[in-house]
């Protein structure tokens, strides 16, 4: 089979478990090293946490207290006003629809992008890894080449393509006159529904699935769809989990694309809403801090639950920068 020369799939990387202790002799010198390590690491870690600690603390403070000198690390007069206003409970905060809508938008968009990408990427990856047909390598090469191209190049054409989708957003059948898929969920989701990089990663993984397994299923009369769904996908679960987490994270915190195509506040995603809030110099910092905490929570929770997959995925794919 021609697949024998294909690159190996990314090997799972074992991260920080019991490892052999390289080269530190026991005794007093060893202890000195460890103390030195703590001496550097712990203050550093505090420096890394301090902004978060302050963010969380500020989100529970009244706006007056947030400006107090010295800064209050532990709110002296804790308040939920920021959260209440942000989520539109009780009093509504100035301007626009309630901000919980931003989070629903973010959740919807990020989930859709992730599901679609996992589905389409794995379909394409399976074909590239395990099927032989004329044109396959050419198409795959095309996918690979475009991975190098920075997103800024395709930004403007994609904007124009979305703007001219026929029969949507007030457009006529020739795509003229309206705004098409700009400022819509279609526009937020569809350009991200396939990723050349994701296809590449999954394909590398799928190449290692033995052909005999698939052939056996074929001989038993399984359809290709069934083979894909019942054999290939379950075997790829670790790779799907890793790429899925990153796709979700990327979509959840994406800022550039929503900034460009979204204009109405009820379509804002969480990062876009928060960023515009700041840039427009609004002064309700308590509301903003509460929103920031809420926007950070989902990924931090996902990270804590899937820490292993997360870090392995990062090590394997080098995603996120």
């Amino acid at each position: 089979m021609s697949t024998t020369t294909a690159p190996q799939p990314p090997q799972p990387v074992e991260v920080v478990t019991a490892l052999p202790d390289p080269g530190i002799p026991p005794g007093r010198r060893r202890r000195t090293w460890l103390w030195l390590a703590y001496l550097v690491l712990v203050p550093g870690a505090l420096l890394f946490v301090a902004p978060f600690a302050w963010l969380v603390s500020a989100s529970f403070q009244r706006i007056g207290d947030m400006f107090s000198y010295p800064p209050q690390w532990i709110p002296q007069d804790p308040s939920l006003d920021g959260y209440r206003q942000f989520l539109g409970i009780g009093q509504e905060f100035a301007g626009g629809p309630q901000a919980w809508r931003w989070f629903l938008n973010s959740a919807f968009v990020a989930t859709s992008v992730t599901v679609l990408q996992l589905f389409f990427n794995s379909l394409a990856a399976y074909v590239f890894a395990k099927r032989q047909f004329p044109g396959r390598d050419l198409i795959f090469a095309l996918f690979l080449i475009t991975m190098m191209i920075p997103g800024q190049i395709t930004l403007i054409p994609n904007y124009l393509v979305l703007k001219h989708v026929p029969l949507f957003g007030g457009n006529d059948i020739f795509g003229q006159g309206g705004s098409g898929w700009l400022d819509s969920y279609y526009g937020l989701i569809l350009p991200g529904a396939v990723s050349a990089f994701g296809i590449f990663l999954l394909r590398q993984y799928m190449v290692s699935i033995p052909d005999e397994l698939l052939d056996a299923a074929r001989i038993d009369g399984a359809s290709e769809l069934r083979i894909y769904a019942r054999i290939v996908l379950p075997l790829c679960r670790p790779a799907l989990a890793a790429t899925g987490i990153f796709t979700f994270q990327g979509a959840w915190e994406d800022f550039f694309w929503p900034l460009i195509i979204v204009s109405s506040p009820d379509k804002y995603t969480a990062p876009l809403g928060l960023a515009l809030f700041v840039v427009e110099n609004r002064t309700q910092w308590d509301v903003l801090m509460a929103g920031s905490v809420i926007a950070s929570l989902p990924m931090i929770v996902v990270f804590i639950i899937f820490q292993r997959q997360f870090i392995q995925g990062i090590a394997v794919s080098g995603l996120k920068g």
Binding site: P71, L160, S292
Partner: protein, 309 residues
């Protein structure tokens, strides 16, 4: 299909013949149809169209979109603001990438020691990586604030400065401030990659070095660092690609100011495209960025290969 396969395959192929194979390929094309369509529209067509745009004066508000030949390209090369934005981007990249990697490496080396509480420390350093970048930029904008920012408070408390610094409004301080924040948010990523690489360094190398009487620092210099070389190149390439495209922190913290001192290439392109709606020119600028990135990546890979030999 290759001919040298098991008898079972030969039999089935014989039995099913051409029609069976067309149908089998048919399902492969079917699987590929939607992904390929999306890819063709949003990547391949977009690329060709962007290239087309670079030869036109194309504004979304002007009905006339004349062909202008290479005008956009010569404008780009003469555009001092664009060139300045490239310099700014080099400044950002040249400082933030190496420093982020160095700190990441240091933290990874230390975390590779058998410390208690290592998992927690690692998580803390990694926290910024999983936090939405927009949130980080917002918090740091607050920390940098000249009137009520925490940095000014503690710097004044400790007597390092007399009067508050305008971190983001001072032309000389704005870029370093943005860089510091970017380093902070990127260290966790470098650390995790280095940590994974460190744990893949063969244990025997250290033993051999120790037998030869190498000290800790010699082991670090002669064993660890060379073994991490591919990782370092990887981080360098990824880091440069990412920081050439720096945008979010600029948008939120400085809006490219003061006096364009933090206007980076992508921020400049964004303005050209979506503030002034000069789509043709903005596309040209984007290709300029691509050319820069391309050259950089090639040079790095070349240096890497040379170093390998």
């Amino acid at each position: 299909m290759t001919t040298a396969t098991a008898p079972a395959t030969t039999v089935s192929r014989h039995r099913h013949g051409l029609w069976w194979r067309v149908r089998r390929n048919g399902s492969a094309y079917g699987f590929l149809a939607v992904p390929l369509l999306l890819f063709m529209v949003f990547t391949v067509f977009a690329l060709v169209f962007a290239f087309y745009l670079t030869f036109h004066e194309w504004s979304i508000i002007e009905p006339e979109r004349p062909f202008v030949g290479l005008q956009n390209y010569s404008d780009m090369l003469a555009d001092e603001s664009y060139l300045r934005s490239i310099v700014n981007t080099f400044y950002f990249t040249g400082v933030s990438v190496p420093v982020t990697m160095a700190i990441g490496l240091l933290v990874a080396l230390l975390l590779n020691l058998p410390l208690r509480g290592r998992g927690i420390i690692r998580t803390l350093y990694f926290l910024p990586v999983v936090t939405p970048f927009v949130v980080i930029a917002i918090v740091w904008k607050w920390l940098y604030n000249g009137d009520f920012g925490l940095f000014n408070y503690y710097l004044m408390q400790t007597g390092i400065i007399e009067s508050p610094l305008l971190f983001l409004a001072d032309p000389d301080l704005a870029m370093p401030s943005v860089i510091a924040m970017s380093i902070w948010s990127g260290v966790g990523f470098s650390m995790v990659i280095y940590l994974a690489a460190l744990q893949a360094v063969p244990f025997q190398l250290y033993e051999a070095a120790r037998v030869d009487g190498a000290t800790r620092l010699q082991q670090l210099w002669h064993v660890t660092i060379p073994q991490l070389r591919p990782t370092t190149v990887f981080l360098l390439v990824i880091g440069i690609i990412n920081s050439f495209q720096v945008f979010t922190q600029i948008f939120i913290m400085t809006s490219g100011g003061p006096v364009e001192r933090t206007t980076t290439v992508v921020y400049f392109i964004y303005n050209a495209a979506f503030k002034f709606y000069e789509f043709g020119y903005a596309s040209t600028l984007a290709f300029g960025l691509f050319a820069l990135l391309f050259v950089f990546t090639l040079v790095q890979l070349h240096l890497y290969r040379k170093g390998e030999q």
